[in-house]
Amino acid sequence: MFEAVLLTVITAATPLLIAAIGELVVERSGVLNLGVEGMMIMGAVVGFAVANQTGSGTLGVIAAIAAGMAMSALFGFLVLVLVTNQVATGLALTILGVGFSGLIGEAFIGIPGLRLPDLYIPVLSEIPFFGPVFFQQDALVYISFALVIAVAYFLFRTRLGLVLRSVGDNHGSAHALGYSVIRIRYAAVLFGGACAGLAGAYMSLAYTPQWVENMTAGRGWIALALVVFSSWLPLRVVIGAYLFGAVSVLNLHAQAVELDIPSQLLSSLPYLATILVLVLISANRRLTLVNTPACLGKPFVPDR
């Protein structure tokens, strides 16, 4: 029983983790992309469609990443080149993504999908309890952890990571030192798009292998909240994602034990939990101010 619960927690947490770690890099560079939900849902529908048409889960995943990146490129052009308001543009991206995914996905409603195969890690997967839980997962679960470690290493151990953080801290200074603020931010935004697309693919190819309209159901927004929760530190995103994963599967398991609680209340728990967490984190003003990238959401126009 506990093993089964843990397994569902992992599947619920993985898309949040992937999307949030991508957005964390974006925000570290000083850009606020509120369009995670839109990029994610596009990743979900494109990943499903391509996997369905080609029969290849791998191609589906690649296509989903490409879709997320294409969306983020559009966002990047507006906020970085045309210096549009980042909040409004992120919203636009979500509205567009939800609309487009509905249009593309109409042909795929009700069609059984393809599920990414589980990868059994030799030897480790044989360990009782830990084996099935941690080492018999699909590839994206492993990738999500690899991403977190890679991002943490990149941000705090590499020169390019230092440059990216410097751009998020003070774009004027970074520009004065000769770094291309816009190019670095574009790269970060594209990475965020790729992650959101991948998270979407996880939704439609692993979490529930089918296409349902609006199937991301606000997970992109929760991923945004997770970045705040993590204080922009990669390892804390893991904690946040798994906490939220646990909250969001309560519904599933409460039905199994026949608790007399309206299912709608249980369904709304992840959203209420998000609000609660945001309140707890932001009430500590000092903590949030110190960690927030100082240029987050601010427009940058280089003088020439």
Binding site: R159, L162, S166, S173, A176, L177, G178, D303, R304
Partner: protein, 531 residues
């Protein structure tokens, strides 16, 4: 533009001859005819400049004369539209700051190019092409910084460091690149006089070692003291070159401005001191954010008829003090007393109705809304002061317009068309507007933070005179300023703020620069703690 071109040749002919004469085998950088245009504005118009090895070369000019534009082209942050740069005799294209650093050109920025959230060593690594391992770099930083008498701890986070240390980081960052030319933009504007002396020692040592320094400053005393040669820019053109040691500050000033600068005098008319108008009593406030300064037991009496100045290096609590006096940051009622009424917990509108007026440091975005017209910006501070701008919740555009016309005329605010948006005005004109908007009310108490910061000499003189005139007409004026020249020019009494502590205000005649400097460097703090 054609006519202007012909004119330039005649005026710069003499300077051109100077350049020819100075260029030689020791020449490090030789700029010829550098031109840079921003939209309709010609920021640099065929500028010639020669810098020799081991020379401390002053670049002088008013705000907007084109100094920053010129050095940005040397540092590769801006691309010239015309002309050429010769580096050690070879024509070079400095495409970006990295290329400049490769050549051996380093720069210390006026508003530092530092990253507050990062450590000292990370900040320095960002400016080096091959920083190597962080631990080794830390060691190099410690060695070099100690060697030059500018000690640094590589692990410190910049946000926690005072301004003087931050400048050290910039300088050490430059030194680690082993530059042949260091460009310094207004380096002493953030230093106490004692810290500035230390900086001059470093510069002199660098010059002896053969490094050239291009020194931008508007403090003519220090230019005269340490610089070997000076180039003067006006409206983007080189108007003169000279040996500053043979000039006086007054002669340098008139070269910059192109006319004699009107001098302001506080002492011409002795103040008639009246009743206390504003009293601060043990004013204390915690730092609101990690980047703010706490105020500690600040006490001050401000009387009718006098100008009191608060000196201090930027970031020592001036902004917080201003906000507490204006009411933007509420404190305990007794801490701020206006005309006998405790009002520390009252809002800014209440204090304005008590006939107090305020001019903040930041003109755009605090004193004025950038995208709003001047007439609307008048409503900003005067909507509730009985000026007939608002009746029954409706704003009177007509009355605001009339007021704008009046202020524009009296305070000589120049604009390209009537009632423009605030952000289209130059710094000096906007400052005249923001100060004029408050003076127009004949306030009983006026608090001004950095009244002439970044303002050209003409406008600065006008504003300073207006402040003195207001005091002499029976109002109390409090000026918060970083500019010691200005303070000694207009103040009747001087207090010094340091890390949120304020020294006792003493008559200007009893003060001198050295004493103010010591108070700025922490003396005020010691005094405050004893009190």
């Amino acid at each position: 533009m054609g006519d202007g071109v012909a004119e330039t040749v005649t005026t710069t002919g003499d300077a051109g001859a100077g350049r020819q004469g100075r260029s030689g085998k020791d020449t490090l950088l030789d700029a010829r005819g550098l031109t840079k245009r921003f939209g309709d504005i010609l920021a640099n118009d065929r500028v010639d400049l020669v810098i020799n090895r081991g020379e401390i070369h002053a670049l002088l000019g008013e705000n907007g004369a084109g100094k920053s534009t010129l050095v940005k082209m040397f540092y590769g942050s801006l691309e010239p539209d015309g002309g050429e740069i010769l580096w050690q005799g070879n024509r070079v294209d400095i495409g970006n700051p990295a290329a400049a650093r490769d050549l051996g050109i380093g720069m210390v920025f006026q508003h530092f190019s530092l990253f507050e959230a990062l450590s000292v060593v990370e900040n320095i690594a960002l400016a080096l092409p091959n920083p190597g391992r962080m631990s080794e770099l830390s060691n190099r930083i410690q060695t070099v910084s100690r060697d030059y008498g500018l000690p640094l701890n590589p692990e410190d986070i910049v946000a926690d460091l005072p301004v003087g240390i931050r400048q050290r980081i910039e300088i050490v960052r430059c030194l680690l690149q082993e530059p042949q030319l260091i460009i310094m933009d207004e380096p002493t504007s953030v230093l106490t006089p004692q810290e500035a002396d230390l900086l001059f020692l470093t510069l002199e040592r660098l010059a002896k070692e053969g490094c050239a320094v291009l020194y931008i400053s508007h403090r003519l005393e220090e230019v005269k003291r340490i610089c070997h040669h000076a180039t003067i820019l006006r409206h983007g053109q080189v108007v003169r070159e000279c040996d500053p040691t043979k000039e006086t500050p007054a002669s340098l000033a008139s070269m910059m401005v192109g006319a004699d600068v009107a001098s302001v005098s506080a002492s011409a008319q002795k103040p008639v001191i009246g009743e206390p108008r504003l009293a601060l009593k043990n004013l204390s406030a915690k730092a609101a954010t990690p980047f703010a300064t706490a105020l500690n037991n600040v006490s001050l009496d401000l009387r009718a008829g006098e100008v009191v100045a608060i000196a201090g290096v930027a970031g020592n609590g001036q902004g917080e003090l201003f906000d507490a006096i204006s009411g933007e940051m509420p404190v305990a009622a007794d801490m701020v007393v206006l005309d006998g009424k405790p009002c520390g917990n009252r809002n800014i509108t209440w204090r304005r109705r008590q006939n107090a007026a305020f001019v903040p440091e930041e003109r755009l975005g605090h004193g004025a809304v950038p995208g709003m017209k001047l007439s609307q910006n008048i409503v900003l501070t005067r909507h509730s002061t009985g000026d007939k701008l608002v009746s029954a919740a409706f704003v009177s555009t007509a009355n605001a317009g009339k007021m704008e016309q009046r202020i524009k005329k009296i305070y000589d605010v120049r604009m390209s068309h009537d009632d423009p948006e605030a952000r289209s005005l130059s710094g000096g004109n906007l400052q005249k507007f923001v100060v004029g908007r408050e003076l127009d009310r004949k306030p009983g108490v006026l608090i001004v933070n950095q009244p002439t910061w970044g303002v050209d000499a003409g406008a600065a003189a006008l504003i300073r005179q207006a402040l003195i005139d207001l005091a002499r007409s029976g109002s109390a004026v409090l000026v918060i300023s970083q500019d010691l020249d200005e303070i000694f020019e207009i103040a009747d009494r001087i207090a010094v703020i340091s890390r949120g502590y304020l020294s006792a205000a003493e008559p200007t005649d009893d003060m001198n620069r050295e004493r103010v400097g010591l108070l700025m460097a922490g003396g005020a703090e010691a005094q405050g703690e004893v009190a």
